[in-house]
């Protein structure tokens, strides 16, 4: 199976889907699912292929190369699987909307270009696919028009800044080494001075930090997530944003190399240490902003910014545990955030686009499967033991503590505790409490929406109880970067400074839960009552909303809101306005009247004559 064929199928499939849509909706949808599933199968077949390179095109005399290794297999698998699930989820959600052909084209295009990024073996094709991804994402974010266009513009402007930074880096590499093949670069770069390496890392980091929404370059993300169509949110938050993570891994550990990347700078001002601190800030501040959100998608968006911080901290700390934690967290985060966005999508689909947390409530009785999905999703997000998020966070914490970075560990841990607050708010406002009267007739989500949710819920538990399976793969990635291998067993990690054994925890929780359940069974059976039959000091409860949701963490809001203005965004907007007014001022010169232009010429000539006379040059 050659990689060219894979990419041809990915891109060709997108275009054929668009054309089929002109004939029939059903054929188009079937074909889109078929294409995305066949991509999953094809990539799964690539497992274990390492280092095969193939030149597929020449561009201005530069060979464009595809290659595969464990890192790209891992990311490609995640991209294609989550892409396929998103396509399946879209089937019902996008039904009866306008421009669906275009939607499917762009969705498959984004997936294909992400695969292109992952498999490209040289920087010029990396850059081309990167740009394709940015532009098709922009078109999808702006799909809904209205405020979505502004969000999309914000995204694309920041993206372009990032791409330009990357282009500078690529060109400087080409000027120095006259090749853009990653493998060759990795060998040649050993002779570079540390100053040049630092320049390279910073210039590439700008591009990847914008994509990964690292503070202070995160400002595009909340608006874009909130306005994008919900099924696309899965792809956007799960993998597309994490292409930044792939980029960081690529530049730090593949091209520059672990030993060189981890020794740049001195003392506290090492490059990777500063990157880790940026990651820590990215964990804490967005977490607290997320607590303030009342919009389900904005809440998840800020949470996604925060979780991105864990990955950066993990890979920036530069140990085998941290690296594995960071990469594993990328996968885990993709799984649960896609699941949570799908749950929001299901709720939106059934309630007619409602995503304001304060006007929902009590959906557990109407949409039980969606509730279970959300519960597992937030468990993963918080990192409750036996869900996947726990294992990756455990790895990150452990390495931070043992390497002597307690303040970084503190930032990571406090992020988790803040995370509980918004996670509970999310699940409580949507699913618990009293069901408003107007949603009495809400149906279960349709099967095509439930199927991806069930698969992802299963994945959360599977990776949580048997973390060894993905960790083995991640371990080979780590060793290929030159790190020491971890002692991974199928149940967890064994080492002398603290072991993790998930099966023990699982068994203990299972047995103890059964005991607790039996204890509840000792007493007489409880009578089920309606939601109106709750304690209200003897008063009867009104039928409609009687449920405490607005300003849920009010005392905390009052304390933290003054400190949590998004001043970075405000600064950027001010900067943009300043540029705009500067341009406006310049434009005022060009009035369009011939008389004015004649006046400019005459004045200019007069100035010249004046200068000539005054200084008699």
């Amino acid at each position: 199976m050659s990689l060219e064929l894979l990419l041809i199928i990915a891109f060709g499939g997108a275009i054929v889907t668009y054309l089929l849509g002109k004939i029939s909706c059903r054929i188009r949808e079937g074909f889109a699912v078929l294409i995305s599933l066949s991509l999953v199968v094809m990539i799964a077949c690539l497992y274990g292929e390492n280092g095969t390179e193939s030149i597929y095109f020449h561009f201005l005399g530069l060979p464009l190369i595809m290659r595969t290794n464990m890192l790209s297999w891992f990311f490609a698998m995640a991209v294609s699987a989550l892409g396929a699930l998103s396509v399946i989820f879209s089937l019902n959600y996008m039904k009866n909307r306008e421009r669906t052909d275009f939607y499917y084209l762009m969705l498959l295009m984004v997936n294909a270009s992400m695969l292109g990024i992952i498999f490209s073996g040289d920087l010029i094709s990396f850059f081309i696919f990167w740009e394709m991804m940015s532009w098709s994402t922009f078109l999808l974010i702006s799909y809904n028009r209205g405020p979505a266009v502004a969000a999309g513009l914000k995204y694309i402007i920041m993206s372009i800044i990032g791409s330009m930074a990357m282009l500078v880096g690529v060109l400087s590499l080409y000027a120095t080494y006259e090749t853009l093949n990653m493998a060759t670069l990795a060998e040649l770069i050993g002779s570079a001075s540390s100053g040049y390496l630092l320049f390279l890392l910073i210039i590439f980091s700008i591009a990847f930090a914008i994509k990964n929404a690292l503070m202070p370059l995160h400002t595009w993300l909340p608006a874009a997530y909130a306005e994008a169509p919900t099924p696309f949110n899965g792809v956007l938050s799960g993998m597309l944003t994490r292409m930044g993570m792939y980029g960081f891994l690529l530049i730090m550990y593949v091209i520059v190399g672990a030993t060189r990347a981890l020794n740049l700078g001195s003392g506290l001002f090492k490059f990777h240490y500063i990157l880790a601190w940026l990651g820590a800030i990215t964990i804490v501040i967005p977490t607290f902003i997320a607590i303030l959100q009342d919009d389900a998608k904005k809440l998840l968006a800020w949470s996604a910014v925060g979780q991105g911080g864990y990955m950066i901290v993990g890979i920036a700390v530069g140990t085998n545990l941290g690296l594995s934690g960071g990469i594993f967290h990328t996968l885990n985060h993709a799984i649960y955030i896609v699941l949570l966005f799908m749950c929001v999508g299901a709720i939106q689909y059934r309630t007619g686009g409602e995503r304001d947390l304060n006007s929902l409530g009590g959906f557990i009785k109407k949409m039980p499967f969606t509730f279970i999905g959300t519960l597992l999703g937030i468990s993963g997000l918080v990192g409750i033991p036996l869900t996947n998020g726990f294992v990756s966070k455990w790895l990150i914490y452990k390495t931070l503590i043992l390497e002597g970075y307690p303040f970084l560990a503190f930032a990571a841990l406090i992020g988790t505790w803040g995370c509980i607050l918004y996670c509970y708010k999310f699940i409580h406002h949507i699913f618990l409490g009293q069901l408003p009267g107007k949603y009495q007739n809400v149906q279960k989500a349709p099967f095509s929406m439930l199927l991806p949710m069930i698969i992802l819920s299963f994945a959360i538990l599977f990776f949580g109880i048997l973390p060894g399976i993905p960790l083995k793969i991640i371990d080979t990635i780590g060793t290929s970067f030159g790190f020491k291998s971890m002692n991974v067993t199928i149940w967890g990690i064994a080492s002398e400074t603290g072991t993790l054994n998930t099966i023990n925890i699982f068994a203990a929780v299972l047995i103890v839960s059964i005991i607790a359940w039996l204890m509840l069974k000792i007493g007489p059976k409880a009578v089920s009552v309606a939601q109106e039959d709750t304690y209200a000091a003897g008063a009867a409860i009104p039928k409609d909303k009687y449920h405490y949701t607005v300003d849920f963490y009010n005392p905390l809001y009052r304390m933290i809101t003054p400190y949590l203005k998004d001043f970075i965004d405000a600064f950027y907007m001010k900067f943009a306005h300043w540029i705009q007014s500067l341009c406006n001022g310049t434009r005022r010169v060009y009035t369009g009247y011939v008389g004015n232009y004649v006046m400019y010429i005459v004045l200019f000539l007069a100035l010249l004559i004046f200068i000539r006379l005054k200084w008699s040059l």
Binding site: A530, E532, D533, Y535, A537, G538, A539, A540
Partner: protein, 185 residues
């Protein structure tokens, strides 16, 4: 704990539990509640009998109706009584719930509370002293022992009649019947 008690505990732990752990609803129905603070605080200390005020009817099994019952309060009393888990005991405190007391000719007061919810025992007097609460509690213990504190069973058996009385006094009730027809046995 003497031997007799121990045998009783082994024979019927549930019944003994009900006896010695009477948690009262913290619900001030009338002026008689003024006698409750001294009885639960340092002067008389009801906690040594296991009597403890709790916050919600869900956690309680003893309902003290302390003083006169206006029509408006009756609504809350019924609601609270229905929300208490079974077995539950209710005690009328003072002469007003018994027969209206000094409000016997008021247009807005309920005269006979036991027409609306079942009462397991009365404490007469206006006001009864806090000691009377303890007399009532010890009396309630003997009633529980002899299975005579069966107000909640009466309520279940004659629910239709109670409900009819309640609707007669209050008009239409906002909540559905506690027991449907077929549970009447």
């Amino acid at each position: 704990m003497d031997r007799n008690q121990l045998i009783k505990w082994l024979k019927a732990p549930a019944k003994m539990g009900h006896k010695y752990s009477l948690h009262a609803v913290y619900f001030c129905t009338g002026c008689g509640i003024i006698e409750v603070p001294p009885s639960i605080t340092a002067r008389w200390d009801a906690e040594r009998f296991g009597v403890l005020p709790v916050a919600t009817p869900r956690q309680a099994n003893l309902f003290l109706i302390t003083g006169y019952v206006s029509v408006k309060t009756l609504r809350a009393i019924i609601r609270t009584y229905e929300q208490m888990p079974e077995p539950k005991y209710s005690v009328g405190f003072g002469s007003c719930p018994i027969n209206g007391g000094m409000y016997w000719d008021s247009y807005n007061t309920i005269k006979h509370l036991d027409k609306y919810i079942p009462i397991d025992g009365w404490i007469a007097g206006c006001m009864p002293r806090p000691e009377a609460i303890f007399v009532a509690v010890t009396h309630l213990w003997t009633l529980i022992d002899k299975d005579m504190a069966d107000g909640y069973k009466r309520y279940r058996d004659h629910y239709q009649a109670y409900r009819a009385n309640q609707e007669h006094a209050l008009g239409k009730l906002e909540w559905p019947p506690l027991f449907s027809n077929e549970t009447k046995s």
